[in-house]
């Protein structure tokens, strides 16, 4: 039990409750939080009152205690009452009178049989709280600890482990009680790590606020500086302005004067870095890679300092200004890809042509996945290529319940004025051979 005499209760009914720097209660081993209500007062029923009332705080019910934490720093001290000290909880009778008052709970606690009233002035679920209070009080979680503590102190050789606790005092995971216990422990450890995380998050948030206000100040300074129009005095200003930008980039803040300068330095640097990086994934992908795939690769490689999709796209568009061997390309369908400048459409077209004029594919055509496998490129890329080939007249499509397939385009080879004639040369003849050979 925590030490610390209370100046509130007689003989120490209330104890000082330990709280963290952000005002969360420090729970003890195996103690689990069950409920939280705000705007709670704790009053003494006796007249004259046997302890100073606690006004306007958060009441936290745990498996072991009732903890009261003041919501404002009004000099009140976080306090707690162990549930073990509660001797009696008065039943809550609903009456006409109680409908107009704030709900309240009365209980009696030792030492001294002090009657305590908890008044709930807030909007929480009072009934739920009451139910949980009974549960926790009846649950007597503190007794199990005492039991396990006393058991370990016994010399346990020879005694058979009975009940929930083994000879060494650790909880045995047996039966339904064991399962529940295990779940309870897992829940408690999750709760603990969540608490830790929240503490970190709070610290981060306060730092972030500082950073944002700093960035704002910088931004104001840069924007209010006059733009370069006249004379040599402005060169100095321009110099310091650039310095400012560099400095801000180095702390990861994007330049606010992007629109005024010729492409923010951030994007230029990123653009160069990207052009270097892109080389290997591009090779692996067969010369063409979608913008989304590149986004994934690049950010994965960076680890931290991730870039946004917009940054990536801007960086790619800047390539036009530099002499890099890669380019951004947009298909009719809207799909954007990065490809090597040397990677020509002609090359892909000829590979597709070779694929679709094979005997088997003449007969059955190709799907995007077939093409992807043969050409060793991503299926989405393969589809784009097939569509491009269709637009160029190399392929035509076949839509059926089986899906979309592409065939070598025979239409130009067929003479509409003489529909039964098949020319001696040409793929039409090949197709006819293929279909008669392979059909049953």
């Amino acid at each position: 039990m925590a030490s610390g005499s209370s100046s509130i209760g007689i003989g120490g009914l209330f104890e000082n409750a330990e709280v963290t720097t952000s005002g969360r209660p420090v729970l003890r081993r195996n103690e689990v939080e069950c409920f939280l209500l705000s705007s709670v007062d704790i009053d003494s029923e006796d007249d004259p009152p046997r302890f100073t009332a606690l006004r306007s705080g958060n009441l936290i019910l745990t498996t072991h205690r009732l903890i009261w934490i003041p919501s404002q720093s009004n000099g009140a001290v976080p306090s707690s009452v162990p549930l073990a000290a509660v001797t009696h909880i008065y039943s809550h009778k609903k009456s006409i009178k109680s409908m107009f008052h704030s709900p309240r709970i009365r209980f009696q606690a030792n030492p001294g049989s002090i009657v305590v009233t908890i008044v709930f002035r807030g909007k929480g679920d009072f009934d739920e709280f009451l139910t949980k209070l009974w549960e926790c009080w009846r649950g007597r979680a503190w007794e199990e600890e005492e039991k396990s503590e006393s058991e370990t102190s016994r010399s346990g050789s020879g005694t058979v482990a009975q009940g929930l606790y083994g000879n060494d005092g650790t909880v045995r995971m047996v039966g339904l009680a064991g399962i529940l216990r295990k779940e309870q422990e897992q829940w408690e450890s999750t709760d603990k790590s969540l608490q830790d995380a929240f503490q970190d998050l709070n610290a981060l948030m306060s730092k972030a606020k500082e950073m944002v206000s700093l960035a704002e100040k910088m931004r104001q300074k840069l924007l209010s500086a006059p733009s370069s129009q006249n004379g040599s005095t402005d060169d100095e200003e321009m110099g310091s302005k650039e310095e400012m930008q560099q400095w801000m980039l180095s702390v990861g803040i994007i330049s606010p004067v992007t629109k005024e300068s010729a492409g923010a330095l951030y994007h230029q640097e990123l653009s160069r870095q990207l052009a270097d990086f892109v080389r290997i994934p591009l090779e692996q992908a067969g010369g063409m890679i979608s913008l989304t795939d590149m986004y994934y690769h690049f950010n994965r490689a960076r680890g931290t300092e991730l870039i946004s999709p917009d940054d990536l796209w801007q960086a790619c568009t800047l390539w036009e200004k530099f002499d890099v061997p890669v380019m951004l390309r947009k298909f009719d369908s809207g799909v954007m890809v990065i490809q090597n400048k040397s990677h020509s459409d002609e090359e892909v077209m000829s590979r597709i042509r070779m694929l679709v004029t094979k005997t088997e594919t003449l007969k059955v055509g190709v799907t995007a996945s077939d093409a992807a496998l043969t050409l060793k490129i991503a299926p989405a890329m393969a589809k784009e290529h097939l569509l491009t080939a269709e637009t160029k007249g190399l392929l035509c499509r076949d839509m059926s319940p089986d899906g979309l397939r592409f065939y070598f385009n025979l239409f130009p080879e067929i003479d509409p004025t003489n529909i039964h004639i098949v020319k001696d040369f040409g793929t039409y003849g090949e197709w006819i051979k293929a279909t008669s050979l392979l059909s049953v």
């Binding site: 499509r397 067929i414 509409p416 039964h420």
Partner: protein, 179 residues
């Protein structure tokens, strides 16, 4: 190659893309041409004058390759034929199409030739006789669609080659030739 009744189908009838309306303009133009020729050839050989877009017109599907033309495709191809003057839509909803594998003018010429061949220059005949009488047996006029026949006759009437008159009953329309 396959046959539909006694009609020899061209090889490309088994080419699956033939049954998918092509999105690329140039390819579609070629496809339309092939369908036009096929439909007209087939209708001529089978003496089919009417095509119902939603009905089971044999050319519209090929069970051998498990493909059939979508409604949109059928309408597109038939409309192309209408556009060339070789067919007419009989309703605004484009559900029925009158196929003119001979143009009306051609039919008119055929009728004139028929009249000369049979020495009917000044005679009288019923309209029905023209399409189902003994003289027309084995000729192109046999079984000609009534609508088309009437249009051709009207055309000739306007040219003063004949006169149409009503008979005693509704089906008893007659023609007096003055070729």
């Amino acid at each position: 190659m396959q046959k539909l009744a006694d009609f020899k189908l061209p090889q490309f009838f088994n080419y699956p893309p033939y049954f998918t309306l092509q999105p690329v303009r140039d390819t579609r133009e070629k496809q339309i041409q092939l369908w036009k020729e096929l439909i007209l050839d087939y209708c001529k050989s089978q003496k089919i004058f009417l095509i119902g877009v939603e009905e089971d017109f044999p050319l519209f599907s090929n069970s051998a390759i498990d493909r059939s033309l979508s409604h949109e495709a059928r309408e597109t191809f038939l409309s192309a034929i209408v556009g060339e003057g070789r067919a007419e839509w009989l309703d605004k909803g484009h559900r029925k199409c009158l196929v003119l594998w001979h143009r009306i003018q051609d039919w008119a010429d055929i009728i004139l030739q028929f009249v000369r061949d049979n020495g009917l220059e000044d005679s009288v005949m019923t309209v029905e006789e023209i399409r189902s009488g003994t003289e027309s047996l084995g000729t192109e006029l046999q079984g000609i669609d009534r609508t088309i026949l009437m249009r051709a006759l009207k055309l000739l009437e306007n040219k003063g080659k004949l006169a149409l008159f009503k008979g005693t009953s509704a089906d008893d329309e007659g023609v007096k030739f003055s070729v």
